[in-house]
Symmetry: C2
Subunit: 519 residues, 2 copies
């Protein structure tokens, strides 16, 4: 037994579900289709999940994968897996079998829980990995566990509770390591910043696999709020649930909000709903539309490496008296560090703060308790990301005189489309694997619906022939569909004298009429 | 320079004011009489306070005393002192000069900040202790500091940020040590449990020296809420401020609420106000009265050793459908562990959990991040309080089947009167020092206004004469007035065969018609 100080407990988000099972016992925890679980039921299932995993041979620190749509089971995994002493790997459900197999292999997961609809995503997972399908098979698995309290194996709050894979700039997904302390603290920040209470009903429009639902998977248990699961974005169904489930909160990228705004079922809601959005700044049009539906929009910014939300746009005290255009400009800012994160700076190449004038450009860097521990099994990439003792976001922005930040461009070669990060290099490799292609460059271009979409610039081999559709179809066969270029331009690529492709010239052309190089 | 991990910052409540000075810059932080300070001004003053303390010779870990009524300066000290690297000792303003001098000496404070009205409380403080009076003298002191950010000396979040002296059961006050981590976490719990936001206005009816205002001194900065200072309980003035300052929150012992309810200015408030109460369970009458004023009462329980609030009474989901009498009974419970504290148990002498049947009695014990580090300079008392690895509250209660606790009696020999802890032994010693007294026993008896008051049982020396009033006046000359017995009974004291006074027999008689032995 370890030496216990009476005034010290290791922080862990598992404590939230243990407490909610007592304090909020009879209140609804999760609604998933026709099923509803109270907090005492949900806690019992979490303990069963944890003890069943141990009975199945889980050792401390073992990774446990999920390929699951938003569901009670995926929420449950956020408690049951770390409660068992395991590390949750919640995988993006839009990935192709190759990508899913890579993540399962790289993380060393020996068990994967999956939605029935996603069985094809597991096609390339090695046979040694145990698969458990959500439904009767999962319930039978739970039956092998016990509802008794689970003895904690946690020795330090710095131990991992989750690994979230993100599109890297080097092509292969990187595993972002979250620890119990960071997850606990970021969840509390979300409860406070998003004003979650026991009276809140949270609609799960944001995938839970996205930075663990921006820490809301754990935050809802801290607050005792009700979760309502949405497996897939279906605007009409979302409008229905907003009313029938008395929803007070949901989170979504602007792309999803645009879908909602343009759905025939769109209407002004009876009760005010608070919606956090991120992945791209909300446009003035979107803000106005949401206000007309009685939706308060909160603009957050962050990365997988920052447990999701890092900054929040907070209105100054006299905001209501400002002209509308100035309000809209202000709300596009990424804002201030949230309640428990560390400082956020904008720095030049020598790590000196840029002048906080809203004009001088620099890279956004941060440090603090809600930053990843590093990339799993990638010490060199980790060291580079943390160079100078600060995490380098790869995002380029300005510091305003009031201390808020605003993004303008991106150092990283990625496209952020509908809230998903896509590596341009990964797409370039897929495009280049087409037999007719000599070389390819991919950049993000602005798109009204998706924020950004990838565009490919292709030089064909002498005498070879390929159409735009050929290239797109080829990539869709190799990568998740959302990663395929939306358009392809053919011709010689601009290069330096040493032969390096000048992607900045392509970007200059495509973004010529824009203030920012991100959308 | 220490080795900094990019994903690790030491938790400290100082971070709240640093952030509020940026994020909530132009919003009001504190209203103190005619003066109002915004968060950017308050942060500047906090930094000035910290750097002025360092310029005045403060070394890391030095104690800094305050004998101050609720005021902007006392709130400021909660940030400026730990920001400097010092440890705040906020002293109960109702204590007599002997008691204040003892605490200043015991804590080793070499500087004391005091309200102009409380100069007489410092009469016995040694001349070597520097005194700075709040007002022009304090402002001149601030002018010796700088508004620049203050370099943190904090190496570990386990370092002390405050020592709060509490009435001990052994007569002399004990210094309860708070660390930065506990203060940070308990403050976040208060933000969440009490639903403080940037739109909240918090009225300071609770003395800030009481467990640092139940951690609300720091919580208001975390939330960006406005503080309105009340130097002394004046019911008419409180009713006025509730309206003029658009108050949304205040905290008070039931005694203060009874005063408010019986004031001619009492009226139904336009906006709902959330009031946390503790120190004694609220009576059904009080709950109903508060509801009639549009005040929501939240019942908290805790001790100085638990940073104030340890448990919170949370209503079950179907509470509104219960009959009123059952509701009132439920609301008298001390409730469940709050969001960030550790487990709370009710145990027998062998540290076994009692049966959770709402009947079986045991001692309430707890452990976790929001428990004191120990008693300052009292390792033996600390060890005893933490025996078995759990903090022993000295409170006797039951565990209900739903996991909530309810107090029934007290192992500690103290009286809790108007929210203040009073050591019966301290009073006994004062009573016994009267020349006519042979021996004395003091117990708590129930009182409608104060919850409990001390009653003395006195055996006089053979042939000696003293009246009830003589005894009371004698004690008032030695101790703070609220500690003096409210009544005195004369006669032989019940004793065991070995001569030990049987206080339980006195208690049995005085509490004969009561369900509980606390009020």
């Amino acid at each position: 037994m370890r030496d216990l100080k009476p005034y010290r407990d290791e922080l862990s988000p598992v404590s939230f579900v243990e407490r909610a099972g007592t304090v909020h016992a009879s209140r609804p925890a999760v609604v998933d289709g026709a099923a509803t679980y109270t907090w005492v039921e949900f806690r019992a299932r979490s303990r069963r999940f944890a003890s069943a995993l141990r009975a199945a041979g889980l050792n401390k620190g073992d990774r446990v994968a999920c390929v699951a749509l938003n569901s009670e089971v995926l929420l449950l995994a956020h408690f049951g897996v770390p409660q068992a002493g395991g590390v949750l790997v919640a995988i993006n459900t839009r990935l192709l079998p190759e990508e899913v197999a890579y993540i399962i292999s790289h993380s060393g997961s020996r068990i994967v829980f999956h939605s029935p609809d996603l069985i094809s995503a597991l096609a390339l997972v090695p046979p040694g990995v145990r698969r458990i399908q959500i439904g009767p098979e999962f319930e039978a698995f739970l039956d092998t566990g016990s509802e008794d309290p689970v003895e904690s194996w946690l020795e330090s709050e710095d131990e991992l509770c989750a690994i979230d894979y993100t599109s890297g700039t080097t092509g292969r997904p990187k595993g972002v390591m979250y620890h119990h302390r960071g997850a606990f603290l970021n969840s509390l920040a979300m409860v406070v910043e998003n004003r979650l209470t026991v009276a809140s009903s949270h609609l799960w429009t944001l995938p839970m696999f996205h930075c663990n639902g921006w820490s809301h998977t754990w935050a809802v248990a801290a607050a005792g709020s009700k979760s309502v699961c949405v497996p897939r974005i279906d605007p009409a169904e979302i409008w229905r649930l907003l009313a029938t489930e008395a929803i007070t909160h949901f989170n979504a990228a602007p792309t999803v909000l645009i879908l909602l705004a343009n759905d025939p079922a769109a209407h002004r809601l009876e009760r005010r709903v608070r919606v956090c959005t991120g992945g791209a700044p909300p446009s003035p049009t979107l803000i106005a539309q949401m206000a007309s539906f009685n939706i308060d929009l909160v603009h957050l910014y962050g990365l997988t490496e920052t447990y999701g939300p890092l900054t929040i746009n907070v209105a100054p005290s006299d905001f209501d008296t400002w002209p509308e255009s100035r309000q809209a400009e202000y709300r596009a800012r990424q804002g201030f560090p949230h309640l428990v994160t560390g400082p956020v700076r904008v720095v030049d190449e020598q790590m000196r703060d840029v002048v906080p004038d809203g004009v001088s450009l620099g890279e956004v860097v941060s440090r603090g308790n809600t930053l990843m521990r590093g990339y799993y099994l990638e010490p060199e990439t980790t060291e580079k990301a943390f160079s100078g003792g600060w995490f380098h976001t790869g995002d380029v922005g300005v510091m305003h005189p009031d201390g808020s930040i605003e993004l303008r461009d991106r150092k990283k070669d990625i496209v952020i489309s509908g809230g998903e990060n896509i590596s341009t290099i990964e797409i370039e490799q897929a495009v280049a694997s087409h037999p007719a292609v000599m070389e390819a460059a991919v950049i993000a271009i602005p798109d009204d619906k998706w924020g950004e979409v990838p565009k490919a610039f292709v030089a064909l081999k002498p005498g070879a022939v390929a159409s735009e559709q050929d290239i797109i179809e080829h990539v869709r066969g190799l990568l998740a569909h959302f990663k395929a270029p939306k358009s392809v331009a053919f011709g010689e690529l601009p290069k330096t004298s040493t032969g390096k492709i000048q992607k900045f010239l392509l970007r200059d052309r495509e973004w010529a009429d824009r203030l920012r190089r991100i959308n």
